[in-house]
């Protein structure tokens, strides 16, 4: 959306809650609240600066069972619940005893964001972006996406009654295409990688009036939605921080925002300050951040992605450099695994905990396993992993790895020949 739109239409009082402006993460340059995302001085990322009020645990706990229980900490108006949205968040935090035993961990939790309205964590960020689009009087709600975001934008736009246009790489998994197209008539498949789609979106955002691209020109508002993952994990642990957390890395935004959430909770006195380690997970076929980590490089060298973990296939990650900073500061690491290990991670989580995750979650679980095996992660400390999306979206990834143990005629004799009858007896 051009600057002209924001100037033409005045912002209402409290449109962005307790947000007081935008601040460049690199140089600190200040910009007023509006559809701006890159620092006019250095191109660095603009972030929301707040003037937080006193917030208590009781106030949060009295809120709705969705992300708006944290609305005082987000760039949204105080009447946010009154406007139609998908009401995402407050997803389950499951103790993963079987997976912990399998990996030799003392205590492990899975934050399962596959149960959001469109089955990924993207509903959180999109809800915040939708609020910004509404307050900035945008007429089109749009995004470049690796799939999950397209699903979330298309659905949220439908519910809010705002026109949506979503752009995806044309080679995306079929279920993710259908999951967007069902909500919008304007799904645009682009011949190219996600990074090509992203470039196109940035160009459109610079030219077309009234377009709110959730992860381009309203990205500062959008990205804040990922903080709610951090808030929820702390609240669901009984208002305390975990010892360590493993988070998948695509652009790196989610990891940086979960860290920001933990820091804010400490500053607001809602949790006790304590050390925690942050780990990033990538697939080897798109591992620019992990590569930079292992080489101790000062910058991220972009790559051309080639991995089944398409929702993590961002070759030029906008927040990659901050992932390096956070993992270094906290004593964590960034690690990557092969596509075969991604598949194994999906099946491992499914077979041990009954959670069907998509390739990004397979990456996270697989990296957790590798971190334990390589001694980079302390198995005695309490660990959280984030499952960012549902496995039904990436069925193809494991379609050839799992299937019927036997195909038989409907007779008892045929069944006994499979040897499966022994299964129950052995356990009896």
């Amino acid at each position: 959306m051009s600057t002209a739109v924001a100037e033409k239409a005045a912002l209402r009082e409290g449109a962005f809650g307790h947000a007081k402006g935008l601040s460049c993460r690199e140089c600190g340059h200040q910009v007023g609240l509006g559809p701006f995302y890159a620092c006019p001085e250095c191109f660095g990322p603009l972030e929301i600066a707040y003037d937080f009020p006193q917030v208590t645990r009781a106030e949060i706990e009295a809120g709705p069972r969705n992300i708006w229980r944290y609305k005082a900490l987000l760039p949204v108006p105080s009447d946010i619940e009154q406007s139609p949205n998908t009401e995402p968040g407050f997803t389950r935090l499951l103790e993963a005893r079987n997976l912990a035993r399998e990996l030799g961990l003392a205590k492990l939790w899975v934050k399962d964001d596959s149960t959001n309205p469109t089955n990924s964590f993207k509903d959180r960020v999109v809800a915040c972006a939708l609020s910004a689009a509404r307050e900035l009087h945008a007429t089109v709600f749009a995004c470049p996406s690796t799939g999950n975001l397209a699903n979330a934008v298309a659905a949220a736009g439908a519910r809010a009654g705002i026109k949506t246009v979503v752009f995806i790489p044309s080679n995306l998994e079929k279920p993710k295409q259908v999951n967007s197209a069902v909500f919008t008539e304007q799904l645009v498949a682009v011949n190219g990688t996600y990074d090509d789609v992203n470039k196109l979106a940035s160009e459109i955002a610079g030219e077309e009036d009234g377009w709110a691209f959730v992860n381009v020109n309203v990205r500062p508002y959008y990205a804040e939605g990922s903080k709610t993952l951090g808030y929820e994990i702390a609240e669901q642990l009984g208002w305390r921080l975990p010892d360590q957390i493993v988070i998948p890395v695509a652009s790196g935004s989610q990891l940086t925002k979960v860290d920001k959430a933990f820091q804010e909770l400490v500053k607001l006195g809602l949790v006790e300050d304590k050390p925690y380690k942050v780990y990033g997970a990538q697939a080897t076929g798109c591992s620019p951040v992990s590569t930079a980590w292992k080489n101790d490089a000062p910058a991220i060298r972009p790559v051309k992605p080639d991995t089944i973990a398409k929702s993590l296939a961002i070759g030029n990650p906008a927040d990659g450099i901050y992932v390096l900073d956070i993992c270094k500061r906290s004593g964590g690491a960034v690690e990557d695994i092969t596509d075969e290990q991604v598949r194994e991670g999906i099946v491992l989580l499914a077979r041990t905990e009954g959670i069907f995750t998509e390739t990004a979650g397979g990456t996270t679980v697989g990296v957790l396993k590798k971190l334990v095996e390589t001694g980079q992660l302390d198995p005695e400390l309490e660990t959280v992993v984030i499952n960012t999306g549902h496995g039904l979206k990436t069925l193809d990834a494991v379609a050839d790895s799992v299937g019927p143990a036997a195909t038989i005629e409907p007779t008892y004799a045929a069944f006994t020949q499979t040897g499966l009858a022994q299964t129950g007896r052995a356990e009896a």
């Binding site: 051009s2 600057t3 690199e26 995302y37 890159a38 620092c39 006019p40 001085e41 250095c42 191109f43 660095g44 990322p45 603009l46 470049p144 190219g192 996600y194 990074d195 090509d196 992203n198 470039k199 979106a201 940035s202 160009e203 955002a205 610079g206 030219e207 691209f213 992860n215 381009v216 990205r219 990205a223 695509a250 652009s251 790196g252 935004s253 989610q254 910058a299 060298r301 972009p302 051309k304 961002i314 030029n316 990650p317 906008a318 927040d319 450099i321």
Partner: protein, 91 residues
């Protein structure tokens, strides 16, 4: 060698609001020099103090990110489309 340069919103204060301008040069470095001659100061926004591309700027020659090509030495044949785009998008 005349090329067309797409200017991001935040640099249009230098180009009197123009989103697309012409420049000359056989490499990206030369194009940026020529651009700076026409729009004084614009090069300093795209390059850092060491003369390298700023961390949060992506420059494309045609459809390709110059970090995959020869960075500032990337050739810019006549008629090439160059795009300067903030890098902090996506995800």
């Amino acid at each position: 060698m005349t090329v067309s340069v797409r200017v991001p919103t935040i640099l249009r204060t230098y180009t009197s609001g123009e989103s697309e301008v012409s420049a000359a040069g056989t490499t990206l470095a030369e194009v940026l020099d020529d651009l700076d001659a026409s729009y004084s100061g614009i090069k300093g926004r795209i390059l850092d103090d060491n003369g390298e591309l700023r961390r949060f700027v992506n420059v494309y020659v045609g459809n390709d990110d110059v970090r995959f090509l020869d960075n500032l030495e990337t050739p810019t044949p006549d008629g090439t489309q160059i795009s300067v785009i903030p890098a902090v998008a996506g995800g």
